[in-house]
Symmetry: C2
Subunit: 482 residues, 2 copies
């Protein structure tokens, strides 16, 4: 998943003291909220939930422990303090959305394991890889195609595309150090920035998009189906993909521009792979089936999760995915644990009335602005607040609902507010080297300095915001969505 947080180094290497300070900060924030006490109309129990939720989000930012452990402890606190009954605290774990994410992990693993992902990548490279710009497009195309069913961007951009990008760079003797700008730095930057766009293009672009769809429905009354998300994103998405890669090629160019060797590499790899294996063919069929069923939900009404469960069941029955393999996917279980806990906490918070009070309060603040201004200002605040988040999910669970509520209260069309926030939630990951889980992988490869990474990220954020804010708006108007 996008959000398959690897274990933070800090807890392992950094001093125990730093960890203790972080826990102290988390506990302090919870204590402060408890001391302030609930305003009129909010129950003490609801207020306690807010304190635990804010503490959990804080912990997801300062990371005194891995995310899974943080949420596990939060559930314990919820149940132990009687803020929720045990059943209620654990409800998230039977939420179909959480299981969709778990299934997606298993599907990703199969795409990787069968070699189908690599085959797609080498196919694109053979087609487009003659120049370094084309090579970047080939890698981006792979990532985008996979994003149609693999909502784990660390699995697709990290697990499948990254090793290929690095090995091509190394084939052109570009390694971290003096030769980094020959090819590697460009590829890493371009693929990462385009991956962020691919995340925005599909409901399955990254894991928290399904949470966004859930919040959009529950808070905004707007249904973001797989098809809606895709249709809304396709025009600004494709333009962004093309432009972002090209722009990076201009402002942060590689020294090597012709890459015939990459084509040779792809040829060799493909002929080594031989014809598609039985497992690969089954995986491809499941891939097409899942994407097809998700795209056509409006006709057959089979829920997304059931489609995903079905896909996994086929992979298990045909032994394309070995159960033992699924069990050893630690990132899957980590995500399952923190996802299930967090999703339900955010949901339950909506029932306390706190969100509504917050909206009423904020509506007063933006009163007289006109909804257009309010929408733009709030979206920009939302977007650039991502400098403070190391995870799209943390950002979404913390800010999506309140911002959506305020926008709607300010008079913005709900559909527009939802679309704006939904796509922004993904595009904002361009900003930093910790914006989403693939960032540490690409940045961590050592080809790009932090200064370069942040500069390119900021420029690209302006570009994508402009594209989605003009072309996107026009496209959604054309579709009659607002």
């Amino acid at each position: 998943m996008t959000e398959a947080h690897p274990i933070p180094d800090d807890t392992a290497t950094g001093g125990m003291r730093r960890v203790l300070w972080r826990w102290a900060l988390v506990a302090g924030i919870a204590a402060a909220i408890l001391v302030i006490g609930p305003p009129a109309g909010i129950t003490l129990q609801g207020w306690r939930l807010l304190a635990i939720f804010v503490a959990t989000i804080t912990a997801s930012i300062v990371r005194p422990a891995p995310m899974g452990a943080v949420v596990f402890i939060a559930i314990c606190v919820l149940a132990f303090t009687g803020t929720m009954t045990p059943v209620d605290a654990l409800t998230g774990y039977s939420d179909p959305i959480v299981w969709l994410v778990l299934c997606a992990f298993m599907i990703s693993r199969s795409v990787t394991k069968t070699g189908l992902g690599r085959r797609i990548a080498f196919g694109f490279i053979r087609l487009l890889g003659n120049r370094s710009l084309g090579l970047a497009y080939a890698l981006v195309a792979t990532d985008t195609v996979l994003a149609s069913i693999v909502p784990s961007n660390s699995a697709r951009a990290g697990g499948i595309v990254f090793p290929i990008a690095r090995s091509v760079a190394e084939a052109y003797e570009s390694t971290p150090g003096p030769t980094r700008r020959r090819l590697g730095a460009f590829l890493m930057t371009a693929v990462y920035q385009a991956d962020v766009v691919a995340c925005a293009m599909f409901l399955t672009g990254q894991a928290s998009n399904v949470i966004i769809a859930k919040f959009a429905q529950s808070t905004g009354g707007v249904e973001l189906s797989y098809a809606t998300w895709f249709i809304g994103g396709i025009v600004p998405g494709i333009v962004s993909l093309l432009l972002v890669v090209y722009l990076i090629y201009r402002i942060y160019p590689p020294e090597v521009t012709q890459t015939p060797h990459a084509i040779q590499l792809a040829h060799d790899a493909l002929s080594r792979m031989g014809p598609m294996s039985r497992d690969e063919r089954i995986m491809l069929a499941v891939f097409v089936l899942i994407a097809g069923l998700w795209m056509t939900t409006a006709w057959h009404h089979v829920p997304y999760t059931v489609v995903a469960l079905f896909g996994v069941a086929v992979l298990l029955l045909t032994n394309v995915l070995a159960w033992e393999d699924a069990l050893s996917d630690r990132a899957a279980w980590d995500t399952f644990i923190w996802y299930g806990g967090l999703v339900h906490m955010a949901e339950a918070l909506g029932d306390t009335g706190i969100t509504r009070q917050f909206a009423e309060f904020s509506a007063g603040m933006t009163a007289g602005w006109g909804w257009g201004i309010a929408l733009v200002v709030l979206l920009l605040v939302y977007f650039y607040a991502h400098y403070g988040f190391a995870s799209i999910t943390a950002h979404v669970t913390a800010m999506f609902i309140p911002f959506l509520v305020v926008m709607i209260a300010a008079g913005a069309p709900p559909a527009l507010a939802v679309l704006g926030l939904a796509y922004a939630s993904n595009l904002q990951a361009s900003l930093t080297h910790y914006g989403t889980t693939t960032a540490p992988i690409y940045f961590g490869s050592g080809y790009v300095t932090q200064r370069e990474w942040w500069t390119v990220g900021f420029v690209i954020s302006l570009v994508t915001l402009s594209i989605w804010g003009t072309l996107g708006l026009a496209w959604w108007k054309l579709l009659g969505w607002w």
Copy 2:
């Protein structure tokens, strides 16, 4: 967990054909049930649930795939056929009982990792290990003490006690082959048979005991708390432990009777371990705290699962348990998946009315027997049916509720019926070398032939049935429970 089914060898080594035949059998049974169709008063949906449930239980016996995969597929079928809504099919995963089991896995892992389990074992050996009979008692004592909070008998009897038993046997030059009867064969048999008794003594003796408690409440209206279970089991349990080990020492004696070297071994191991580490001390404190809180639920009313969550939270916060370590416990996730699915299916089946119809039908059959006879006959059938089960949980989920319903319908006091079935569910594991998950470990060590194993198992089953059927009955009468 008792039921942390390792991946069956068959699917890996045995032919694809055998796997296909097994799936065909599973599907055939489901089809047969569907063809027969529901009797009057049962909905088609309820009947479909029965077909899927029976197919799942069949698959848990013939094992065409690992248990986790089987249940995963069953959930998919439930949701895909509309037999349950996705949320309903997944409800088990927010059941506190399922989480109690998950927490127990994490606690077990910490008991093992900190070395506390080994320290307890060597402590007992230093105290009692001078003769081979005492040595067996020392190992059994370790297992029994751990059973008070570790409901994973493969973690305690398999993970902690087994390696020590084997290394002591090897120290006396008893290995599989000609020297097996010197010491190893006796130790393996005695520890396994006593482990089965330890399983019966605690609500946490093995994983399905919590399911039994749930069924006892929902079907029999009998509350089996941690304290009730323990008080009911302590007298027949301790007598059984003492007698079973001694009896095996007589009928299946080791050639080596004096084992002073074991004491030396324990001394050495303990001095190598040095004083208790910080992690061990914390683990011990958590151990005592959890057992204490579970024992005293009647006073403070904190649910078992909350206590377990609290214990795990303390272990995580103090870093005694690393999250990464918890994530890599494949057996934990496997059990979580199949447990959550199966528990809810069994529960939902109760709501279809099928169980009640079955009871009414069977009540006619046992009519005129007198409840005493009915109870004895049904208990014996239930007990020896375990020859056909490779897992206590499969047996319990398949047979516990119908047998309990029939016993109560025949006029047996519900408390007595529940106690009889609850303890029998554990003791029956003595019969075979696949009766519960520790069996393949102890049998698989190669010290004991299958013929010896089954003979001893059958003899011990007669002994434990006699003890629990006379002394147990008297003890529960004395307690005023029937």
